[in-house]
Amino acid sequence: MRYHSPTDFASASALAAGASGVTRFLSGGTDVLVQMRAGMVLPDDLIDLKKIPGVSDITQTAGGGWRIGVAVPGIVLGAHEGLKADWPGVVEGMNLVGSTQVQGRATLTGNLCNGSPAADSVPGLVAAGAVVEITGPTGVRTVAVEAIPAGPGKTTLAKGELISAIVLPARGDNAGDAYLRFIPRTEMDIAVVGCAVSLRLSGDTITEARVALGAVAPTVLLVSAAADAIIGTTLDDAALDALAAAASAAANPITDKRGTKEFRVEIAGVLAKRAAKIAFARAKGETA
């Protein structure tokens, strides 16, 4: 295995584009190293991105959003007061990944590019309407986060392409988001179901909403029917029930070692309700 540590994204892209064998990008490494240890992935070229200037920075964009470098670990994300104030659901999703030790390494970009439908940080990014900047052999393009996963372990990134930043939009007023996952233990599990809700209020009425589900389909789902169920409501019981029904209806999970299909369908609705209540409270400025 060859280990590379380029100092700009164009070089990283060129290395990957020119490689003939198995190539992996390394930022936090909490998935790549595990796969290497298990012999599941034996890269010929490993391209470490942490020497590229700016990859460890969180910066505010001109429009009031946030640009997050590809090597920002969870622990840094969790300590960023400005980001947490704007997008607590995104941050709490990332902070649920692994242990304190894993938080010292794991990154949003890595969690996204690992392609797991159960990735804890991805539903929050999707609900937030985040986009990624992609550097590739033909230049830089920007796409929505939900367009990246292509199924378990797969992404839509082409050969030589890599994510060079994640960009969150400006939060704006009277808005809140939240992410919840279900696991059987209190920590250290992969999500059996995950759900993120982002919404905006006018008074007590929801005017905008996005609902994303994890671990209930081959990729993280953006469920517009679930959002529609609460837009225009005050999140009363009827709206919550409609939200749960829409979330469960959208879920198309499998039975595996982590949970049954029936269980996941049911829990998708339960979590949607609970996450929506938290996002609602946050939008109202209440601590929840």
Partner: protein, 745 residues
């Protein structure tokens, strides 16, 4: 030592720092994988990806062509003609004609680096003919199930059963039908428990070397190095005397490190590589796929009870699979399941069944947790149905000293009644419970094993003592043995060293298993110390020129036994030791035996928990362990055994299980998915040490290590019923199962 003279003890019952503590908090203690030798090679094992497959061909050409690969072995490198358990061990450590489970070793390689060995292992090409497999115990004994090994059944198995049934047992007393007829309520239910893993955090590791002379040496993390020696020698077809095995520190075992896995492979690789040492360290996936899981069980229990709570009859029929080899602990499960009850009419039936899973190894009270889950769940259900208090019903039916156990022998001194009274007195029983919260209670039992034991101790020139034991220290036994020896000698605790020594230094010792280390090695250490004391008294007597019998040992010194013995000032151990070179040479003591006087231990647990009715998730709120220790030599480490056992039982009850896919491959091969409890899953675990001294031990010790894993399984199921009204009969009670049961209410 007067049996009832415990009030005079100075050291036993105190909580000093353990002697190996410093090395273990500074990273200096050397565990299995921490040991290395010059010129050492690394070994790696090729494992079957199939649950059941004929091995058609093994081609190691590509691996052997790699620069740095020094040896490749397959079953062809092992002797033939082994029988019985020796054959089972050989077959399990290296597959022969067939791979019998996912993870079964089929070849191994030694190379100059770990990465190279792993690469070489990937290059060994094995051609398999995949065969039908069976995983579940009930499926494995059903008509038409794939036969795992024809002719494996022993003479106990009646005609007409499936060839996968390899052992059958039936025993009991009284007339159960008449007993059921006397009952006001008779209930019968079927329960299932899934296989779990011991889950020690240290993977198996060893370094071995074996030369052309056939003599071998090994450094290994194990609960019992004489067992490793005997078993490895058997697999390799050599005499045990040709091997010398030194135990490293051990990072947990819980029964799983009482047998061999890759140890004989490292010896065989070393021999083939010209005697260069070979180190093999298992990965976590190898540990889960190929080492010591427990048996899984399917159990029918029938109990009759009068309306005032008297049990009139009980019947258990247990079916357990212990992997592709005989040895599921169905006998132990049956012995323990009714052990807490005084029964005139009781009947037990057991089936030991093969399935395409790893050969089961001992796990803390093997079999007892399974049986307790079934029996204690049913007793609880019947108590509720009859409106009876579950603790009072246990008291009413509970065995006491001298009663005949459900499995035959008469109990010596036991403390079940005292344990139950301590439960009743505990404030947790009065703690208020909220909505969706419940309280569960259950009793558990385990024996105390004696086993071959050999201990030596020597007095140093400065009047200190060094004790050599053969039972590896997993949880603080050095401290408890040092306390007992220091107490006996009348010297400070710090003046006693306890060393776990290699197979060349003592007679045969059974492993640290069966809750025996503090009982058996402790008892032998006290006996050895008494021998040294006798000699020290003799030296003093010689100097004073009085009879040996006229000298007694008090407070660390020899003194005349009475006014008639003579008038001499006490001669301290330091004085005697300081001049022993001139008075006859070194002073030491030795004892070897299979110590009698084992003391069985009953425990009872109370758990308070809360169920999330929307998700089926269970949160443990409060947890209480009450158990009879006989006498707690070092109470902190007794509490530690209670708490650790409870935590493992909680894991078994709620989330731990072996999950297989439809091809019979283990799905959860890492700690991410084999869900042992993490720190945030548990509350503080309250303990009450009941002390009903065991008269068979000089300080009253009972084995305490194993009972604690037994009650959590039923206690949690009972608490869930108390909280939400559903009776869960299949472990683990994970959220999908509990939510499905809640929705079916």
């Amino acid at each position: 030592m007067a049996k009832d003279g415990f009030e005079t003890l100075k050291l036993v019952g105190t909580r000093p720092n353990r002697p190996d503590g410093l090395d273990k908090v500074t990273g200096r203690a050397r565990y299995g994988a921490d040991f290395s030798l010059p010129g050492m090679l690394w070994g790696a094992v090729v494992r079957s990806p199939h649950a059941h497959a004929r091995i058609v061909k093994i081609d190691a050409t590509k691996a052997e062509a790699l620069d740095g690969v020094k040896a490749v072995i397959t079953r062809a490198d092992f002797p033939t003609g082994l029988t019985g358990e020796d054959w089972n061990l050989q077959e399990n450590t290296m597959a022969g004609e067939k791979a019998l489970y996912d993870g079964h070793a089929v070849a191994a390689v030694a190379a100059t680096s770990k990465l190279l060995a792993e690469q070489a292992a990937r290059l060994i090409e094995v051609t398999y003919e995949v065969l039908p497999h069976v995983i579940d115990v009930d499926a494995a004994m059903a008509e038409g199930a794939p036969v795992i090994r024809a002719g494996a059944a022993d003479a106990t198995v009646p005609e007409g059963l499936h060839p996968n049934v390899v052992r059958y047992m039936e025993f009991g007393r009284g007339d159960v039908d008449a007993g059921f007829a006397e009952a006001d309520l008779v209930m019968e239910r079927t329960y299932k428990t899934e296989a779990t893993h011991q889950g020690y955090i240290e993977p198996h590791a060893c370094v071995s070397k074996m030369g052309a002379d056939g003599k071998g040496e090994m450094w290994v993390c194990t609960q019992g190095h004489w067992y490793i020696r005997k078993m490895s020698a058997a697999v390799l077809g050599i005499e045990a005397s040709q091997l010398r095995v030194t135990p490293t520190e051990i990072g947990g075992g819980f029964g799983g490190k009482t047998t061999i896995f890759m140890e004989p492979l490292s010896l065989a690789l070393s021999k083939k590589a010209g005697g260069r040492p070979v180190k093999i360290v298992m990965s976590r996936s190898e540990v889960l796929r190929a080492t010591g899981p427990t048996a899984s069980a399917s159990m029918d229990v029938k109990i009759g009870m009068t309306k005032d709570g008297k049990i009139t009859a009980a019947r258990a029929e247990f079916r357990m699979q212990g992997g592709a080899f005989p040895g599921a602990p169905v006998d132990m499960a049956l012995y323990c399941c009714f052990a807490g009850y005084k029964l005139a009419n009781v009947h037990h039936v057991g089936y030991d069944v093969l399935a395409n899973r790893p050969k089961c190894a001992a796990y803390r009270a093997p079999g007892s947790p399974n049986g307790a889950f079934a029996v204690e769940s049913l007793v609880d259900e019947m108590c509720r149905k009859l409106g009876l208090d579950p603790v009072e019903v246990r008291l009413k039916n509970g065995v006491t000293t001298g009663d005949r156990a459900s499995y035959g022998p008469k109990f010596g001194s036991i403390g079940l009644t005292e344990v139950l009274e301590a439960v009743k007195a505990h404030p947790q029983l009065q703690a208020p419970l909220g909505e969706n919260q419940g309280r569960g209670f259950a009793v558990g039992y385990w024996f105390n094993h004696n086993g071959e034991t050999s201990v030596s101790m020597a007095i140093g020139e400065d009047g200190t003592a060094q004790v050599s034991v053969g039972t590896p220290d997993i949880g603080g036994s050095r401290a408890s043995i040092a306390l007992m020896v220091a107490e006996t000698l009348g010297i400070p605790y710090e003046d006693v060293g306890v060393n776990v020594v290699e197979t060349g230094a003592l007679g045969v010792n059974e492993p640290t298993h069966g809750s025996r280390a503090t009982f058996a090695s402790g008892k032998a250490a006290v006996e050895a110390t008494q021998a040294a004391i006798k000699e020290m008294c003799r030296r003093a007597a010689a100097e004073w020129d009085i009879d040996d019998e006229a000298v007694e040992w008090v407070n660390g010194a020899a003194q005349p036994a009475g006014p008639n013995a003579g008038k001499f000032p006490p001669m301290s151990i330091k004085e005697i030791a300081g001049k022993m070179g001139q008075t006859g040479g070194p002073i030491s003591g030795h004892h070897e035996s299979v110590p009698d006087g084992v003391g069985a231990s009953f425990g009872a647990h109370v758990v308070d928990l809360e169920v999330d009715p929307e998700t089926g998730r269970v949160t443990i709120l409060r947890y209480l362990v009450v158990q009879d220790a006989g006498r707690a030599i070092h109470p902190s480490y007794v509490e530690g055994q209670y708490q650790g056992g409870a935590a493992q039982g909680i894991g078994w009850a709620l989330n731990e299980e072996y999950v297989y896919d439809d091809k019979g491959r283990l799905s959860n091969t890492v700690f991410l998915d084999y869900r042992v409890p993490v720190a945030s899953d548990l509350p503080m675990i309250d303990t009450v040490i009941v002390e009903v001294p065991n008269p068979g031990h000089p300080f009253g010790v009972r084995g305490v290590g194993e009972t604690g894993i037994t009650p959590p399984l039923p206690a949690i199921a009972n608490a869930i019923h108390d909280a939400v009204g559903v009776r869960m009969t299949h472990l683990p009670i994970n959220p999908p199962k509990l939510l499905a049961a809640l929705k079916a209410r």
